[in-house]
């Protein structure tokens, strides 16, 4: 409990400093809208259902992109790790392409897919794809050699080998990849709205607020983006703990 309070201390101090700054005069108030103003903006956007719409659009974009990109990444990583021919076929190109930073893809994506929803989703998918692929691959490739010998001695059929050895052994890696992917997908979802600005979303709301000199709305969106990202990360962490329970059983001896 005391740890939690310590964690809250700095944000509270910052908020207090913020509030103090916003009270210092008109010039500052325009750049540092007071907490009341931000609260009022939240209420206003909530009543007009603009906020809900933006959150929903951004979350949906992040989730869809995460599912598609993540699933493709995990499947690709597993296939590459389990099959040497697939690995030698795909390995070089995958490792070359992953060196290209996400934002360096933007011009190409814009040309190929336009500046609509397809492009935004693709950015999110791409952001989720590589961490999932790499970690799933590593997870399977680093399966304990001693377990592989057991599989050999017991002559496990391929399906059993994948289901009961490769997948569970790779699960910690897959979950690590997924948690990176969740964080990146959320960032990419918001960024894609800033880069391909059209249609609803938190990033888009921010751009419009900036254009309309509504600093309170910009800050509100920033706060919402941060809080939602934090929530998604903690959900992923919980999920990981549940799925890896076999690692934490108390030793009864």
């Amino acid at each position: 409990m005391s740890r939690r309070w310590k964690g809250a201390l700095l944000p509270l101090l910052l908020l207090a400093a913020w509030q103090w700054e916003s009270q210092r005069g008109a010039v500052y108030a325009a750049l540092f809208p007071s907490l009341q103003q931000i609260g009022a903006a939240a209420l206003e956007l909530w009543r007009s259902e603009e906020l809900q719409g933006a959150i929903e659009a951004s979350l949906a974009r992040a989730c869809i992109g995460l599912v598609i990109g993540g699933a493709a990444g995990i499947a690709g990583g597993l296939l590459m790790a389990l099959s040497r021919p697939v690995d030698s076929l795909l390995g070089p190109i995958v490792h070359a392409l992953r060196q290209v930073p996400l934002f360096a893809w933007i011009p190409l994506i814009g040309v190929w897919l336009g500046s609509g929803e397809a492009s935004r989703l693709f950015v999110v998918e791409l952001s989720a794809f590589f961490p999932c692929l790499l970690n799933a691959y590593e997870g399977v490739a680093n399966v304990d050699r001693r377990y592989l010998e057991v599989a050999q001695v017991l002559r496990l059929p391929l399906a059993t080998r994948v289901r009961r050895l490769a997948l569970p052994a790779a699960l910690p890696g897959i979950l690590t990849g997924l948690s990176h992917a969740v964080a990146l997908a959320w960032i990419a979802a918001v960024a894609s709205e800033l880069l391909f600005a059209s249609g609803p979303g938190l990033g888009n709301s921010m751009l419009m607020a900036e254009a309309g000199a509504r600093m309170d709305v910009v800050l509100l969106c920033t706060a919402v983006i941060g809080l939602l990202g934090h929530a998604m990360n903690s959900i992923t962490a919980r999920l990981g703990q549940r799925l890896l329970r076999w690692r934490d059983v108390e030793n009864g001896s």
């Binding site: 057991v150 059993t160 009961r164 690692r247 009864g252």
Partner: protein, 257 residues
Amino acid sequence: MTFHLKHLRKEFAGDGAPRVVLDGIDLDIAGGEFVAIVGRSGCGKSTLLRLLAGLDTEYTGVLLHEGAPVRGTDLRRGVVFQDARLFPWLTLADNVDLALAGGTLSARERRALIEERLAGFGLRDYIDAYPKAISGGMAQRVAFARALVNRPSVLLLDEPFSALDALTRGRLQQELLALWRREGLTVVIVTHDIEEAVLLADRVIVLDQHPGCVKRIQRIDLPRPRRRGDPAFGAAHDSLLAEFDNPEAEPADMLAA
């Protein structure tokens, strides 16, 4: 003959000259026999066991199991390693079930077989527990159950008791003897513990090192159950131990009994 080895040679390729680990191994092991292989660490005794198991198939010379060359693992040969090697994400029952995955039994038949096997090792109450929740001795019992659930004719053991405390080790040694007699198994156990070899085996094979070859084969004709305090037991033990008394000897890990 269950195993027939002739001029068996194993070398590992490294940088430069290949390292010869085993050379000129001639050995016959009869069905139902209990054989112990002893030797210093690094003499290639574990390598020999891996060859018998089919885990390592790159050798020259003759290695026959029931008349056929060993070219890979086989369910007729059960293997237990020094560590239990249970998959930590599977319950004990599912760990044993792995051994039946390639078979034709229905899920219910497999479950019945697994329960019977684990109960036989005194693990009835832990069938659905995870490996983390049980002790090292219990884990090794599960490893035996897993190796035996397919009713192999041969059991290959690579220092199966050396990671256990003395009390557990003694108990598991007795359980192994009972199993061997009850199921008519052929057992080959690799150990660095001469006392264990004399306690268990019909024959003790002493391996020399650099390169590993058979230095001596000692038949142990003592009646079972054998007692460590018995003078004949002590004589067999000391005579085998003398094989390791040479000036170059490292401070003997052989004495670790």
